[in-house]
C-alpha cells in the first residue's frame, strides 16, 4: 500500500489544472448563457482531489505512520554549519489526511453547489447593471469562468497548506489561500451595494477584500517572525526535525541537537514516547540556553515566543480576537466563497497549524493558556454579537468566529483531537448553513424579481416596501418554510447540529471541547458554555425569523426553492451533519478519530465522555432554543414589527454594533494611521519634500545656477566673445570697404603708390 502514497501530488495538481483550463479556455467553454462547463470542470477536479484524499485514507489505514513524498527541492543553499534546505515535500499522515478529506470533500460539494448558485448570482448582477443580450452573455462568461478558476486555485492552495512538511511551505499555502480569499471576497469588486435610492449601503466588496488582506497581513507578520525564530533556534523548518530538535534540547545543549533529524530518531520513537508519559504532570524547567545572536535566552522563553507568534498568525487567519474583524466583512463575497473559505476550510488553517505545532505548544504552557483564553473570549464575544445581527450571513459569520474560538480554545488546552474533531463537524454544518443561507438569498432574489414583474421594477419601487430590498436581511424574510421546504429542513438540521443537540455532529465535538475546558480551565469553560448558550439562541432566532411566521415582504411571498444542483449538496451536507459525530463517537472507548490522530499528533490525549458536562450543555441549548421560541416562534414578527430584543435598549445596540469593535479599531488604528498617512503625504512628502526640498532647494538652486550660467556666463562671456569677433570683423571691414571705390584709377593709384614705396625702399637700401 505504501506505493499509493506517491500519487499524493495529484491532489494538488488536479485543482491547479482546473485553474489553467478555466483561465485559458473558460470563456470559450460557455457558448450559451446556461452553459455549466467551467463549473463542471472545476467540480470534477475537486472531486478527483477528493478521490485521492480517500485513497490516502486507505493507504494510511494500512500504514498509519504515513509518508513524506518529495516533489521537488525548492531552496537549497549553504553548506557546513549553516544550511537552508527547503524541499517541497508532501506530508501524508493521519492529521493531514483528515484535513485533506474535509477540504476536498466539503470543497467538492460546495463546487457543485456553486455551479447552480453562481448562475443565479451572475444573472442577478448582470440585470442590476442593465446588461442585456450579448453583453450579458459576455459578462457571464468572464465572471463564471473567473469564479471557478479562483475557486480551484483556492482548493489547490489549501491543499498546499495542509500537505506541507515544513513551516515555509505551509506559509506559502497560508499566503496563497489569503490571496484567494482576497480575490473571492472582492469578486464583485466593481459593484457597490446600492439601494433603490442610489445610496450606497453595506460594505463595498473591494474594501472588504482589502480589509481582510490587511488584517491578515498583521497575523502573517507574526507567523513569519515565528518561522524565522524557529529556523534561527533549531536550524531547520521541517516539522519533524524541528520537533525532534526541540525535544532534544530539553536534555542536551543546543549544539548537540542541531544535526538531529527525525529520520535518525525514528528507532528511538518508543523510548521517547515513554519519556513523554513520564514527563507529563511535572512542569519541566526548560533552561537550555539557545544562542540567538548576542542573546542566549532559555529554551522555554524561545518556545514561548515562537508559539505566541504562531498564535498571532492563527488569530489572523482563523479570525480570533484581536484580528477577527475581517471575517464578517468577508461575507461580501459570493455565498459559496463564504461557505468554503470563510467557514469550512481556510479559517481552520490556524487550528491546523497549532495542532501541527503541538510539540512546541506542549513545551510552552503559558502560550497554551493564552491560546485557550483568546479562543474562549472570541467564542463568547462573537456569539454575543451574532445574537443581535439581522443579516443572515453576518449571523453565520459571527457564529463561525465563535466556533473557531471553540476550536482554538480546545487546541490551547491541549485538546487537539477535540479541536480537529470540531473542525471537521463544523466544516459540515457550517458549510451547510452557509449554503442554505445562499439558497435562501437565491430564493429571495428570485421572489423579488417575480414580485416586481419584469423590467419595470427599477423605476417603480413598491409602496409597501418600507426599506430597500436586501435579500440578506432576515427582517424581510419569514415564512419561507412554505416556499423552500428542502432548504428549510436542511437548515434546521444544520442549526440543531450547531446548537449542539444530540445526537447531531455538533453535540459530540462541542461536548468534547467543553469537557477538555472543564478539566483544565474554569474560566474558559464558563466562557465556552455561555457562548454555547448564545449559539443555540441565535440559531433558534434565525430559524424562526427566516422560515417561520408569515412572509414580511413580497419577495418572501414569491420565494422559490433552489434547483437540485444546489439542494443535493445541501442534503449530502445535512446527512454528514447528522452522522458526523460518528467519526469520534466516545461511546465504549471507541474514539476512532482520536485513535487515528494519535499516530501523528504527539500530544493528543483522548478525553472520556462526561455525562455531567454533556447534560449541562444540552439542557442549556434546549433552554436557549426555548427562549428563542418564546421571543420569535410563539408570536412571529409581523411586517414592520421591531425585533423584541430592542426592548433591552443599549445592550442590544451594543451587540448590534458589534461591541463597537470596528469603531474602536477605527479610533485606535485606522484613523491615526490615516492621519499619519495624511501627515506623511501632505506634510512630509508634499510640503517638505516636494514644496521645500524639491521646489525650494533643488529646483531653485538649479534655476539660480542656471541663471548664473545662462546670463552672465553664456550670454556675457561666450556669446560676447563670438559677437565681439563678429563686430570686430564688421567694423574693420566697414572701414576697409571705403577703399574699394570701384574706380579703376584709384586701384591703379594704389598700385603706383605701392611701386613707388617699393622703389623708395630699394633706393634707400641701395643708397645707404
Amino acid at each position: 500500500m505504501d506505493g499509493l502514497f506517491s500519487i499524493v501530488p495529484l491532489i494538488i495538481l488536479a485543482p491547479f489544472t482546473g485553474v489553467l483550463i478555466n483561465v485559458f479556455f473558460g470563456r470559450k467553454l460557455m457558448p450559451r448563457r446556461d452553459s455549466v462547463a467551467p463549473g463542471v470542470i472545476a467540480s470534477s477536479m475537486a472531486g478527483f482531489s477528493f478521490l485521492i484524499a480517500v485513497l490516502m485514507f486507505f493507504a494510511l489505514l494500512a500504514n498509519p505512520a504515513g509518508a513524506e513524498v518529495p516533489v521537488l527541492t525548492w531552496i537549497n543553499v549553504g553548506d557546513g554549519d549553516f544550511t537552508l534546505h527547503i524541499p517541497w515535500t508532501l506530508k501524508v499522515d493521519t492529521l493531514s489526511s483528515v484535513m485533506m478529506l474535509v477540504v476536498t470533500g466539503v470543497g467538492t460539494l460546495i463546487h457543485i453547489y456553486a455551479i447552480g448558485y453562481m448562475h443565479g448570482d451572475i444573472d442577478e448582477k448582470a440585470a442590476s447593471r442593465g446588461l442585456e443580450g450579448e453583453e450579458a452573455l459576455d459578462f457571464k462568461r468572464r465572471r463564471y469562468a473567473r469564479f471557478f478558476a479562483f475557486f480551484n486555485l483556492f482548493l489547490g492552495s489549501m491543499l498546499v497548506l495542509v500537505t506541507a512538511n515544513n513551516y515555509l511551505m505551509m506559509f506559502v499555502g497560508w499566503e496563497l489561500v489569503g490571496l484567494c480569499s482576497y480575490l473571492l471576497i472582492g469578486f464583485w469588486f466593481d459593484s457597490p451595494e446600492k439601494n433603490e435610492a442610489g445610496q450606497i449601503i453595506g460594505v463595498l466588496n473591494s474594501s472588504a477584500g482589502r480589509k481582510a488582506f490587511v488584517v491578515n497581513r498583521v497575523g502573517d507578520f507574526g507567523m513569519l517572525l515565528a518561522i524565522m525564530l524557529i529556523f534561527w533556534s533549531f536550524g531547520t523548518l521541517e516539522f519533524d526535525d524541528v520537533f525532534a530538535r526541540a525535544e532534544c534540547m530539553i536534555e542536551a545543549p543546543q549544539a548537540e541537537c542541531l544535526t538531529l533529524s527525525a529520520a535518525e530518531l525514528a528507532p528511538q520513537g518508543e523510548g521517547e514516547a515513554a519519556a513523554e508519559e513520564h514527563g507529563e504532570g511535572e512542569a519541566r524547567a526548560l533552561t537550555t540556553p539557545i544562542a540567538l545572536g548576542p542573546f542566549a535566552p532559555t529554551l522555554g522563553v524561545v518556545v514561548t515566543a515562537i508559539t505566541l507568534l504562531l498564535l498571532l498568525g492563527a488569530t489572523g487567519k482563523s479570525a480570533q480576537i484581536p484580528l477577527f474583524v475581517w471575517l464578517p466583512d468577508a461575507m461580501a463575497g459570493p455565498t459559496p466563497v463564504s461557505a468554503l473559505i470563510h467557514a469550512a476550510t481556510m479559517v481552520t488553517a490556524g487550528i491546523y497549524m497549532i495542532t501541527r505545532s503541538n510539540v512546541l505548544y506542549a513545551m510552552a504552557p503559558v502560550s497554551g493558556m493564552v491560546v485557550a483564553v483568546i479562543g474562549g473570549a472570541t467564542a463568547f464575544v462573537a456569539a454575543s454579537i451574532a445574537v443581535a445581527q439581522f443579516d443572515i450571513k453576518r449571523v453565520l459569520a459571527y457564529s463561525t468566529i465563535s466556533q473557531l474560538g471553540f476550536m482554538i480554545a480546545a487546541v490551547g488546552l491541549g485538546g487537539y483531537i477535540a479541536g480537529i474533531f470540531h473542525l471537521a463537524t463544523h466544516a459540515f454544518f457550517k458549510a451547510l448553513l452557509f449554503l442554505g443561507s445562499g439558497s435562501v438569498i437565491h430564493g429571495m432574489e428570485h421572489g423579488h424579481h417575480h414580485a416586481h414583474g419584469q423590467g419595470e421594477h427599477h423605476d417603480a419601487p413598491h409602496g409597501e416596501d418600507e426599506r430597500p430590498f436586501d435579500p440578506q436581511d432576515m427582517r424581510q424574510m419569514g415564512g419561507l418554510r412554505k416556499h423552500m421546504p428542502v432548504t428549510t429542513w436542511v437548515y434546521i438540521i444544520g442549526a440543531l447540529a450547531l446548537a449542539g443537540i444530540p445526537p447531531l455532529a455538533g453535540f459530540w465535538s462541542k461536548d468534547e471541547i467543553l469537557l477538555d475546558a472543564s478539566l483544565n480551565s474554569t474560566l474558559v469553560y464558563i466562557l465556552l458554555t455561555v457562548a454555547a448558550f448564545f449559539t443555540a439562541f441565535y440559531m433558534g432566532r434565525q430559524v424562526f425569523m427566516v422560515f417561520y411566521g408569515s412572509e414580511r415582504t413580497e419577495a418572501a411571498r414569491h420565494a422559490q426553492e433552489s434547483p437540485p444542483v444546489m439542494t443535493i449538496p445541501l442534503i449530502v451536507l445535512a446527512g454528514l451533519s447528522v452522522v458526523g459525530g460518528l467519526i469520534n463517537l466516545p461511546v465504549g472507548g471507541l474514539h476512532p478519530l482520536g485513535r487515528w490522530l494519535e499516530e501523528s499528533v504527539a500530544n493528543a490525549h483522548i478525553a472520556s465522555f462526561n455525562i455531567l458536562v454533556a447534560t449541562i450543555s444540552t439542557v442549556l441549548a434546549l433552554v436557549a432554543i426555548g427562549l428563542s421560541y418564546l421571543l420569535y416562534g410563539r408570536k412571529p414578527l409581523e411586517e414592520g414589527e421591531a425585533d423584541p430584543l430592542y426592548s433591552t435598549g443599549p445592550v442590544f445596540t451594543f451587540l448590534n454594533r458589534k461591541w463597537y469593535w470596528d469603531e474602536l479599531y477605527a479610533a485606535i488604528f485606522v484613523r491615526p494611521y490615516n492621519r499619519l498617512g495624511d501627515f506623511l503625504a501632505n506634510a512630509v512628502d508634499w510640503q517638505f519634500w516636494h514644496d521645500f526640498v524639491h521646489d525650494r532647494i533643488i529646483a531653485d538652486a538649479f534655476q539660480g545656477w542656471a541663471a548664473i550660467l545662462s546670463r552672465p556666463i553664456d550670454l556675457g562671456i561666450v556669446d560676447g566673445a563670438v559677437n565681439g569677433v563678429a563686430q570686430l570683423v564688421e567694423s574693420t571691414s566697414r572701414s576697409l570697404r571705403r577703399v574699394q571705390t570701384g574706380y579703376v584709377r584709384n586701384y591703379a593709384l594704389a598700385v603706383l603708390m605701392g611701386v613707388v614705396a617699393i622703389l623708395a625702399y630699394l633706393a634707400i637700401r641701395f643708397l645707404v
Partner: protein, 107 residues
C-alpha cells in the same frame, strides 16, 4: 659693322626716355576718364617698357631683351583686340566710355 665711328647714344638716355614715357602713361591711366585714352596710356607704358628692354639689350649685348619685346608686342596686340572689343561692348550698353560710370561692381 658698328664700330667706334658710330655715334653711340648712351643707354641712360633711352632709360630716361623710357621712364618719361612710362610716367606719361601712368599719368594718363590715373587722370583720364575715357576708357580709350586709358587704354592708349597703357599701350604707352608697355612701349616704354619695350624701349627699356631694347636699350638694356643693346647695352648688355643680350638678345633676350629684344626677344622679350616681341612677346610684349604680341601680348599688347592681343590686349588691344580684347580690350577694344570690351570697350565697344560697354559703349553699346552704356552709351559712354567714361570709366567713372562703370562702378556697378563697387563694394
Amino acid at each position: 659693322m658698328l664700330n667706334e665711328t658710330v655715334f653711340l647714344v648712351p643707354t641712360s638716355y633711352f632709360v630716361i626716355l623710357s621712364a618719361v614715357l612710362f610716367s606719361i602713361g601712368v599719368a594718363g591711366v590715373l587722370l583720364r576718364r575715357n576708357a580709350i585714352l586709358i587704354f592708349m596710356s597703357v599701350e604707352l607704358m608697355l612701349n616704354a617698357a619695350n624701349l627699356a628692354f631694347v636699350a638694356f639689350a643693346r647695352s648688355l649685348l643680350d638678345q633676350g631683351g629684344q626677344v622679350f619685346v616681341f612677346f610684349v608686342m604680341t601680348v599688347a596686340a592681343a590686349e588691344v583686340a580684347i580690350g577694344l572689343a570690351l570697350i565697344v561692348a560697354i559703349f553699346r550698353s552704356k552709351r559712354s566710355t567714361d570709366i567713372d560710370e562703370l562702378n556697378s561692381m563697387e563694394g
